[in-house]
Amino acid sequence: MNHLTIGYGGRTLVRDISFELSRGEVVLLAGPNGTGKTTLLKRLASGGTGPENCATLGSSEGGAHSWEGRRSRSDRRFSGPVPPEATAVLIPTNIPKVKGFTVETFIETGCYRESDWKGRISREARERMEEALELLGIQHLKHRDIATLSDGEFQKACLATGLTRKAEILFLDEPTAHLDVENRIDVLRTLGEVARKTGTAILFSSHDLHDALQVADRVFALTREGRFIASADPEAALAEAFPGYF
């Protein structure tokens, strides 16, 4: 992603966003409220082309910062940048837990683009779904009504939807919002596991900085002044985004 500028209603939120993601890495998107985290994620997921935006994720032209993780994991099986044509899926925050959908039908419904006119998904996609459910440890919830799930379990069902849709990049907007401590840590740990085991690149926004830092390889920070900071040093990035806190 090179020199992307985001904003709305004629107002510029953040200028000159350039970064690249590598396979299997987890990146935390941090920044105070109203600095454009959600706007950025939506923009990235829609892959829209703006005036000064080449809109390819993972192209290596910018190259200003290394995508080598802060702590390179010895067990990392995937490396190298995410290809520019990678499938990106955004999981927004606050998806309603509509009564009358099992985890299975919820995932099928979320595969709108991928399913046939009746809403059935291919056998291949079904296999991906089974794998995702197993990886996320929610296989036993497959036939449960989503309205009866805990927020943490539901967040995992949303992750499973992304994986069934063959996401190579997952964007998550506040996946830990409204979660209690236990679920929060569980969901964050799951994010790390998904990235490591499937090679999916994950960019997620969160306000739970301390917990999120445990799992994030890198941090992207948005500042009140509209700057985008992708630093190899998370603490330095956070210090700029939240002056006075770090």
Partner: protein, 329 residues
């Protein structure tokens, strides 16, 4: 071991579905024995010219209105949405009012047919307005507000017309307004059945769209759906069915609201490949029940009223049940 409760609830739902089908069949037969001021066995012309058409009308009208309600509730994510709320019935009412009161009873070809045609045109004018305006409104909520306002304007205009109308025209207008499944000929039944088939097809094509829109417009867009296509398809389907049925049977409420709720409860699912067919069946059963209740008496009651008498307690029951289960949740 986890499969045990699942199988049980699956069986439970399968049982409930077969209860519904059995109920529908029983009501259908019962309705054939009702008419002519009470319970009686009909043969020959009475059976084929009066009762069979009435039963068919009830089944088609109830099913069509229920399908409309199921789609509106999904698109607007509002448990009380139904075709009435979108101003479609209001448009039909205004059309009927104009036909009876402005053209007057002296019109040459005057009959119930004129009222029906005018009501149909009114419903379609309202529907066309809503669909046209939907291009300008991005959000379904705004469109819902527009539909409700439209309905109020139509009923205000109808009231103005009634205020200035003569006694004869008022009588005719009120008899249409009261609602009835009687008096339809086979031509009209075929028209309604045609509208139901097309409406059902449109709804079926749109099924997975109706599912995803339940999770919000943003989630639908992120999953690759066109919210505009979902909205337009469901509006077309609903307006076609409601317009046609309202023209011949009068404005009938409550079926559209109640039937989809019962269908969701019976199937235990909100997915539309389940909800649509069972709404259709439930709507038909409700309409038959209302028709039986209307025709048990020496002077038949208006079906609009008997539907309300059956429908309102059901709506209240479902709302109370829902809020009770929310508390538990």
């Amino acid at each position: 071991m986890i499969k045990v409760p699942l199988l049980k609830s699956d069986l439970d739902h399968r049982m409930r579905k077969s209860y519904l089908i059995a109920m529908l069949a029983i009501l259908l037969v019962l309705d054939l024995f009702v008419g002519g001021g009470g319970v009686s066995l009909a043969t020959g012309a009475v059976l084929w010219k009066l009762r069979v058409p009435r039963v068919l009308t009830a089944v088609i009208a109830g099913g069509a209105l229920a399908l409309g309600g199921a789609q509106m509730q999904a698109v607007f994510r509002n448990p009380l949405a139904d075709p009435h709320i979108m101003g479609v019935s209001g448009g039909a009412g205004l059309g009927a009012a104009i036909a009876t009161m402005v053209l007057g009873t002296s019109a040459a070809v005057f009959s119930g047919v004129t009222v029906a045609v005018a009501a149909f045109l009114g419903a379609f004018a309202a529907a066309a307005l809503v669909v046209a305006v939907s291009a300008r409104f991005k959000s379904a909520t705004t469109l819902l507000v527009f539909g409700v306002m439209l309905g109020f304007i139509f009923s205000a205009l109808s009231s103005v017309l009634q205020y200035t109308a003569g006694e004869e025209s008022l009588k005719l207008f009120y008899s249409w307004m009261a609602g009835s499944f009687s008096g339809c000929r086979y031509v009209e039944i075929v028209l309604m059945a045609g509208a139901l088939v097309i409406g059902l097809l449109l709804a079926a094509i749109n099924g997975k769209g109706l599912d995803i829109i339940l999770f919000g417009e943003e989630y639908a867009r992120l999953s690759g759906a066109s919210t505009r296509r979902i909205l337009v398809l469901s509006m077309l389907s609903t307006c076609l069915m409601t317009g046609t049925v309202t023209a011949f049977c009068g404005p009938l409420g409550f079926v559209g609201i109640v039937a989809p709720h019962i269908a969701r409860r019976l199937t235990g699912s909100s997915a539309h490949r389940q909800v649509l067919p069972y709404s259709l069946a439930t709507g038909a059963a409700l309409a038959l029940a209302a028709d039986i209740l209307a025709n048990l008496w020496p002077i038949p009651l208006p079906v609009g009223s008997t539907l309300a008498l059956i429908g309102i307690p059901l709506v209240l029951f479902l709302l109370l049940r829902n809020s009770a289960s929310n508390v538990r949740h």
